[in-house]
Symmetry: C2
Subunit: 382 residues, 2 copies
């Protein structure tokens, strides 16, 4: 299986137009084989190979350069007002030290991004963003409203430590307190006393894992090497977001699975929209109309019949269900399920688990069944 997001890793081919992360040199030393451009920055996507990278991620522990998850920092007296204006979830009761998965919508209810948000203080937030310039969105809204808030991209570079052995590796580096860090909680911590970071129990995999939000890019190589060295006893190695693994979790990829033409109800993200609260947010009226009218298509997990796919899809593949047409957005072969799994839009009448659909792949028709995610239950949330 080839990684779906590949660019030759020959750095001679990497345009200077796209930024390099503070971990770039370290990942080159660690043998990165492919990059993708994400938030105007190069991100590694492949090291030893898709199968080898998968095995290490699902059985051991992997270290990822995810500095492309740029942080949009919202800080100041009106910070909470701006956050609530952008986020359809009610932010009441959100405590400092907690991460929240949110969607940001425009005035039509279309999804602009699906970041993880961190509340660092009552007047201080980060949005850890997918691939769209939320910095400009947040700045535009803040300036337009005349809010007393600063919106900036700070010098913060997330590195992920993902895999079932991630807690063991983290404990060796940062100490026993990591055992008490609950899923979607975070804590500021200076690694080795001088590498400034925020450490959260989050990550873009289906495995137990952490994100280390490095707060000073000058420490990039040192932080990477620290974990690679400490991880040797666990067989740790470099890794990257993995299509099969994230599909096992049913995690969405902005751009691949949804964009501005989709609303949260189509994505099955109803829980991220609170229409009935008193708070106002961008898109509320549009989302109320959409909820009242009902959606005509829904994104669902799909289990595919047939032999292993050789790679991932490079375009959306049409599909047909009992209630009408749809399209598959992302697919990959899951080694531990020994099955191809996917996400795709089906007609709303076909959303029930067990519904059979037929996907038209370039190689011919593939039958598939609407499933539930996660496909594999791990120690991720334990």
């Amino acid at each position: 299986m080839s990684n779906p997001m590949t660019v030759s890793a020959e750095t001679a081919n990497l345009s200077a137009r796209v930024r390099r992360s503070c971990f770039f040199d370290a990942t080159v030393r660690s043998g990165v084989k492919a990059f993708t451009a994400y938030n105007h920055m190069w991100m590694p996507t492949l090291f030893e190979g898709a199968v080898e990278d998968y095995r290490r991620l699902t059985e051991g522990v992997t270290i990822w350069d995810t500095a492309v998850e740029r942080q949009v920092e919202v800080k100041g007296p009106d910070a909470a007002r701006l956050m609530q204006l952008m986020i359809p979830r009610s932010l009441d009761g959100w405590k400092v030290g907690i991460c929240r998965y949110v969607v940001l919508c425009d005035e039509t209810g279309g999804v602009l991004n699906d970041p993880v948000a961190l509340k660092l203080a009552e007047d201080h937030f980060w949005l850890s963003i997918a691939d769209s310039d939320i910095l400009l969105w947040a700045k535009g809204l803040a300036l337009g409203r005349g809010f007393d808030v600063t919106v900036e991209e700070p010098d913060v570079s997330p590195m992920q430590v993902q895999g079932p052995l991630s807690t063991d590796l983290m404990r060796d580096v940062v100490g026993d307190w990591i055992d008490g860090l609950k899923f979607f909680h975070f804590r500021p911590f200076d690694i080795d006393g001088d590498i400034p970071a925020i450490i959260s129990r989050t990550g873009w995999s289906n495995e137990r894992g952490y994100e280390i939000f490095l707060r000073d890019g000058r420490f990039g190589s040192r932080l990477w090497d620290r974990f690679m060295t400490a991880g040797q006893r666990y067989g740790a190695g470099p890794g990257a977001p993995h299509q099969a693994n994230r599909l096992e979790a049913g995690m969405l990829s902005y751009g691949a699975d949804m964009d501005r033409s989709n609303n949260p109800y189509e994505l099955g993200l109803d829980r991220l929209v609170d229409l009935d609260g008193a708070h106002a947010f961008i898109g509320k009226a549009a989302l109320a109309r959409i909820r009242a009218a009902g959606v005509s298509r829904v994104l669902v997990p799909l289990a595919l019949d047939g032999p292993a796919l050789a790679g991932s899809n490079t375009t959306r593949w049409p599909l047909t269900g009992p209630s009408g047409p749809g399209e598959m957005t992302s697919a990959a072969y899951s080694p531990r399920l020994a099955k191809n799994i996917a996400l795709g839009y089906v007609a709303a009448g076909d959303r029930a688990v067990g519904t059979r659909v037929t996907i038209t792949s370039p190689a011919g028709p593939i039958t598939a069944t609407v499933a539930t995610a996660p496909f594999v239950t791990t120690s991720k949330r334990a």
Copy 2:
């Protein structure tokens, strides 16, 4: 010379996360060899080879898929107000049918984008953008201010026809009226009576050329093929933005030569800022402070000594001038000058033409001289 923005053109490697242009299939048929991701979309960067593509562009006529230049459409009663809020140039006297090169700045005076703007009607504009999500910026400002305006990305896909023979090819396809179309003017025109387009005398090359803003993506392949066929008598072929050619013109590449950390004065774009007019715009106060204080570095064209570069730079290269340090942002070998040319930041005291600097390339030091652009004068503006 290799193209600086290369991704394998094996479409099996192109992630579905990045959008395809309406000309995608046509460019694959025409032998595209490399793509870059730009505005969340794949753009061809190489066809026969960098030298062959250059020769056709500078001696004949080339056809480019530049659909990645997404249009941000601003339309409605407050459209002109929103445009003036975003643009530091005074928009007084801007007539329908005229393009303007503009910069957009944030509240710190940092450059967010450098689009070409088209005025389609008194209440209807397009921003033909470089690689940042100005759609979100414009939407945020409009929603924040409560302006009565719609901001959307319409179904518009620019295709460029660039090269000294471009007028001949255009005349054959659209008629004699093209001879009267002045530089930076545009006109709506339905090609062959049914392909809806806006045609402008603009383009991202140092050659005479046109942009065809296709207004319905369903015609992508037909439009491409129409020009490839009509162009046979001129030796026309596929092409793409070309690093050496755009450097000959002194044209800036957003992301490579500047970003939000730069202001228009550093870029030598003083003419695009009108601080003394009565109109308000985002960043005016900051830009007034910057002008008063003076800038410490300036982006200048550089002529490099030494043998031809094998490719382009993939990172910025440090440089040193009599007044202090700087950095080279973009470089390439110009075949018709038989010389390496570049853009780079020098200390403000070193901006005078003829100043000598030393660039530290990975292969060793390169001496260079501050020059004037365009390096080559063509029929572009005639």
